[in-house]
């Protein structure tokens, strides 16, 4: 028997009210924790994947789309650019490293990326098993690809046309797995890497079929090789201003900066995040109000309990903390449930997410969540402050002598 047990027993006696208050607090905390976790994980992913990439050059269109498709592998590419022009840019004196990308196919939703060894150096990839791709139709797969699709070295598979789905399978050529990457903690875990030649081969074959009918312009397009995008790393930061302007003005391609576009993306989804945040804060406010009202109303009945405890020797301060502790206990339990629910919800969202590239997980903890518990405790204390002060008004003699 102690002050905690008295609080706990009293809360247990008023089950429904207690549950309502806990649910309110938990709901608010859960929304906030999902927001914290999701925005932390998304910004983390954005940063990590774009770490060493200063610029992306691709076909004209939306710069955000270009960034999303060629760095984060989420959206569709803006189109293709002539390989000739791209290689000219790659050898520009301001460029330290240029990585060509040829996109267009997938295997079970994992994108097949045609590229060269510069890609390996850009992302600092290392192998878990096997070797990097060398010849056409050889691939090296990311660790997530290997674990989810159960591909091993020596296995073969067919790619499908498009970036998602298994609709249009390239049955003419099978890819051969030559190596598996170590988990890198970035987008490359979800990619299938091969050389650009393989991607051409797939599509030449496809067009070859059409070629049975005489179709000259089409054939011409294939002979003028194309790639999807070029990832560029500058030699010096000085190029930040000059190089993109040069690309945008003097070529038929566009240059997009990952840093600028991620900032723009964040400002776009920021409105939604802010709205949700205020919604959660509103719910927490309602929770505080509800705790306040239920404790305040209960004081009418508890007046007798508190008077008898005074009579048995408890000081006013002790009882003040007893009531305060009850409010804090509710919000503490609520905050714990809320965090649990938030993590669980995010993990469930993660498993239902289609794009494997931007998967969210509820299995991590971040520091801001600790603040949520403190905020919960604070709300409990504030909400129970006025009810607790009633202790100082209770006239024990009158309360206990009067008939109930």
């Amino acid at each position: 028997m102690n002050i905690f047990k008295i609080s706990y027993k009293n809360l247990a006696r008023n089950k429904l009210t207690t549950i309502l208050n806990i649910v309110l607090v938990a709901f608010g905390v859960a929304i906030l924790s999902i927001l914290f976790l999701a925005s932390d994980q998304i910004s983390n992913k954005l940063e990590k994947n774009a770490k060493d990439i200063d610029l992306v050059v691709g076909a004209k269109g939306s710069p955000l789309q270009l960034i999303l498709s060629s760095i984060y592998h989420i959206d569709y590419p803006t189109g293709n650019i002539p390989a000739k022009d791209a290689y000219r840019l790659a050898h520009h004196p301001m460029v330290r490293r240029a990585v060509p990308l040829a996109l267009g196919d997938n295997f079970n939703g994992f994108r097949i990326v045609g590229t060269d060894s510069a890609f390996v150096n850009l992302y600092g990839l290392s192998l878990q098993n096997g070797v990097f791709w060398q010849k056409d139709l050889e691939v090296t797969i990311g660790s997530t690809v290997a674990s989810t699709s159960n591909l091993k070295i020596g296995d073969t598979f067919f790619g499908a046309h498009g970036l998602t789905g298994n609709g249009d399978i390239h049955k003419q050529h099978a890819y051969l797995v030559k190596g598996i990457l170590k988990p890198q903690g970035n987008i490359t875990d979800n990619l299938i890497l091969t050389n650009i030649g393989s991607v051409y081969k797939m599509h030449e074959e496809k067009h070859g079929e059409i070629d049975l009918h005489p179709n000259l312009p089409d054939k011409k397009e294939i002979n003028d090789k194309q790639i999807t995008a070029l990832l560029i790393q500058y030699k010096s930061p000085m190029s930040v201003v000059l190089f993109p302007r040069m690309v945008n003005q003097s070529t038929n391609m566009q240059a997009a900066s990952p840093a600028m576009e991620s900032a723009r993306l964040f400002s776009l989804i920021g409105v939604g995040i802010d709205t949700l945040k205020w919604f959660a804060i509103l719910i927490m406010g309602i929770a505080a109000l509800s705790i306040f009202i239920s404790l305040y109303n209960a004081m009418k009945e508890r007046k007798y309990d508190l008077a008898i405890m005074r009579c048995l020797g408890a000081s006013k301060v002790k009882l003040f903390f007893l009531v305060l502790f009850e409010g804090i206990l509710i919000t503490f339990i609520g905050a714990c449930f809320g965090l649990l629910a938030g993590h669980l919800a995010l993990e469930v969202i993660g498993t239902f997410q289609e794009s494997s590239q931007a998967k969210l997980t509820g299995l991590t903890i971040i520091r801001q969540e600790g603040y949520l518990i403190w905020i919960g405790l604070l709300i409990g204390a504030v909400a129970s402050l006025i009810p607790a002060m009633q202790i100082y008004k209770v006239d024990i003699a009158e309360t206990l002598t009067k008939d109930r």
């Binding site: 028997m1 006696r13 309990d305 408890a314 000081s315 206990l400």
Partner: protein
């Protein structure tokens, strides 16, 4: 130890006097001495402590904490007075009052007579020097009233506590020799 009956019509000030004696109500003048302690010279906090340790109070209504069971209600008396919980003492008191089988029952499950007995037990667990009862029998039937009075007198004697009972209940007066008419 002496046992006194405080008699008087309602409104004559019995309860007020008892409240003053128990340290619940500060008198406008005069002093209360218990074991050579001047009650109203203590600080508020120390007076609460003193009351918890040395004075056992039984009210007209049992005033048990409804969220706690009988045994917890007894333990509460020790905890609030800052004393150690004496589990055996609690059981012994319940046993003496013939309500040992109610130890794990909640106040909602008990009758008026049983509740009043529990409140007597609660007043006794801390071995008080003074047992004060304010109209302890007014809401009880004859049988229960007689039992409660009998318990109060015998338990006060056994525990070496002085007893003051305030009442206007004629059924009580036959048990006492010393009465003070207000």
């Amino acid at each position: 130890m002496e046992q006194w009956l405080l008699l008087g019509a309602s409104g004559s000030g019995k309860s007020t006097l008892l409240n003053i004696i128990s340290g619940l109500l500060k008198p406008t003048e005069g002093q209360i001495l218990i074991n050579n302690t001047e009650l109203y010279e203590l600080s508020a906090k120390r007076m609460d402590r003193f009351r918890g340790k040395h004075i056992g109070i039984v009210f007209q209504r049992p005033h048990l904490i409804r969220s706690l069971d009988v045994l917890d209600n007894l333990e509460l008396a020790a905890v609030m007075a800052g004393l150690k919980i004496d589990h055996e003492r609690n059981l012994a008191v319940l046993n003496d009052l013939g309500i040992a089988d109610l130890a794990r029952k909640y106040p909602d499950q008990l009758s008026q007579g049983q509740l009043q007995r529990v409140s007597v037990a609660r007043a006794l667990v801390n071995r008080p020097d003074l047992l004060v009862a304010d109209e302890p029998t007014s809401s009880l039937d004859d049988e229960n009233a007689a039992q409660v009075i009998q318990m109060l007198t015998s338990q006060a004697k056994e525990n070496g506590a002085a007893l003051i009972i305030a009442t206007h209940d004629q059924r009580v007066s036959e048990h006492f020799t010393k009465t003070y008419l207000l």
